[in-house]
């Protein structure tokens, strides 16, 4: 102690220049010197610490373990003792525990061993650490929150993209359909206008001829030409009906109207019109089993289908041949069969015959649109399910219509 008193000026000079607190203890763990920083840190007045036991700076709970540390410390080799930093708790004068870091530096002076403790107040840095930790935690939480929000946004965006892609596909397919329909109309119109020329020439010449037969006894000739005109007009009407039904075909089921109608009435009409088209010596054999049969179907489509098949039969068979229209009434469906003795469809063309505009090799030089069977097949496919459903209503009266297109007409 005296030593430090003796040299206190030097000690003071040196120790006050250091930013850490300095406490020097002798071998008896007695404090022999402390600088102002250490005093301030621990709440003591100047020189108040000198002569106090080191224990008074150590919290009670730690004193026992500290004693052991001290013993261990002195057992160690000298060179290992230097500059060891430790995070500890110091006890201030008013009993507050202060977080400190202590570096111990033993030295000898005039034969006595001392330990110089450099004390660093960690209160502030602990506080900072705590703040940093809290800030970090806060940041972490915020990042998690934002990440979650981002994830939600990304998911929402993904859903949105999916939805838009779907909408785009829908629009694309609608556009495609519209284009196809447009193209179809254009093509069909050009086909139809060509198809119209021959019947129109027929009507024109027949009308001209009627005008030339002015005599009373020429009634038979007039009648013949009037019949021709009527037949040609019906033929043109059938082509137009095909055309008008295309839109229905493209748009699907919702445009069909199912209603009860008399089968014989429709067949009569169709056959009556077809009779106008017959070549010399041709004859249509009318089915005998259709009286009192009521069908629940789209009457127009049944008419279109039957008309198409009959006109084809007439067109593609020669004079003096018979055409059979057979109607088979099955349990839940009606089978319409048209059998002719005509040129038939070549085997290699049969698999394409329902394709739009397709015309078989053996009729390329005959006029025609190549659209009739395509339309008929499309309509019948669209109608299939709805008619099956209605078939259950009553047993005998309501029958499902189905056209047996694969009749003799194909298998020749």
């Amino acid at each position: 102690m005296r030593v430090f008193e003796k040299n206190s000026n030097i000690f003071k000079l040196l120790s006050e220049a250091v930013s850490e607190g300095i406490v020097v203890v002798n071998q008896e763990q007695m404090i022999v010197a402390a600088n102002n920083r250490a005093n301030a840190m621990l709440g003591y007045d100047e020189d108040e610490l000198v002569g106090m036991s080191l224990n008074s700076l150590i919290p009670k709970s730690l004193r026992k373990s500290h004693k052991k540390h001290v013993q261990d410390y002195y057992k160690q080799e000298k060179q290992h003792r230097k500059a060891r930093g430790r995070n500890l708790l110091g006890l201030s004068k008013n009993g507050e525990e202060i977080p400190i870091e202590v570096g111990l530096n033993p030295f000898s002076l005039y034969g006595n061993t001392y330990v110089l403790a450099l004390i660093l107040d960690l209160t502030e840095s602990k506080q900072k650490e705590k703040e940093i930790y809290e800030l970090n935690a806060d940041l972490d939480r915020k990042i998690k929150e934002r990440t979650g929000e981002l994830r939600d946004t990304v998911a929402e965006l993904k859903r949105e993209i999916k939805r838009r892609k779907k909408a785009e596909e829908r629009i694309k397919s609608a556009l495609q359909k519209e284009r196809e329909l447009n193209e179809l109309k254009t093509k069909f119109l050009s086909l139809v206008s060509h198809e119209f020329k021959t019947p129109l020439s027929g009507i024109l010449t027949s009308a001209t001829l009627v005008g030339k037969y002015a005599e009373a006894e020429q009634q038979e000739k007039r009648d013949k030409h009037l019949k021709t005109i009527i037949g040609e007009v019906r033929h043109l009407n059938a082509i137009l009906n095909d055309f008008l039904s295309i839109e229905k075909l493209e748009k699907g089921k919702e445009l069909y109207t199912l209603a009860d109608f008399s089968l014989s009435k429709v067949v009569n009409e169709v056959v009556y019109n077809a009779n106008m088209m017959l070549k010399i010596g041709q004859k249509i054999n009318y089915p005998s089993n259709i009286d009192d049969v009521t069908l629940c179907q789209d009457e127009k489509i049944v008419t279109i289908a039957l008309t198409n098949l009959l006109y084809n039969a007439i067109k593609y068979s020669s004079e003096d041949t018979e055409i059979d229209l057979v109607v088979k009434l099955l349990k839940d469906k009606v089978v319409f069969q048209v059998v002719d003795q005509g040129i038939g469809i070549p085997k290699k063309d049969q698999k394409h015959i329902f394709e739009r505009y397709y015309r078989a090799e053996n009729v390329l030089l005959t006029q025609g649109t190549g659209i009739g069977l395509n339309i008929v097949k499309g309509h019948l496919e669209n109608l299939g399910e709805a008619s099956l459903l209605l078939a259950k209503k009553t047993r005998e009266a309501l029958l499902r219509s189905s056209f047996l297109l694969k009749s003799d007409f194909l298998s020749r």
Binding site: K197, S201, T205, S206, L209, T228
Partner: protein, 95 residues
């Protein structure tokens, strides 16, 4: 009386044309396709042939070709009445 041959596959058009020509004082002959048309042309040697182009069996070009190969029928004028007007038809007819 002038003999005319009408080669046309549409019955109504063929018969009506023949009837009109008959009323106009001509003697019309008719054939529903090119093949029969050539046969009748060689038999009766008409003064003029009125011929459709698009026909089954043998088309209008086939008739023209066949006619120009036979000395007896080479001089008979042949009139086409195409339903579709196109350059191609004129080029083919004149070649």
């Amino acid at each position: 009386m002038r003999k005319l041959l009408i080669i046309e596959d549409d019955t109504v058009l063929r018969e009506n044309t023949a009837e009109l020509l008959h009323l106009a004082g001509y003697e019309p002959l008719t054939a529903p396709n090119g093949k029969l048309g050539i046969k009748i042309a060689k038999e009766h040697l008409p003064d003029l042939i009125i011929c459709d182009i698009m026909m089954p069996e043998l088309d209008g070009y086939g008739v023209l070709e066949n006619m120009s190969q036979d000395k007896a029928t080479r001089q008979i004028p042949l009139s086409f009445y195409p339903q579709k007007r196109s350059k191609k038809i004129y080029e083919k007819a004149w070649s």
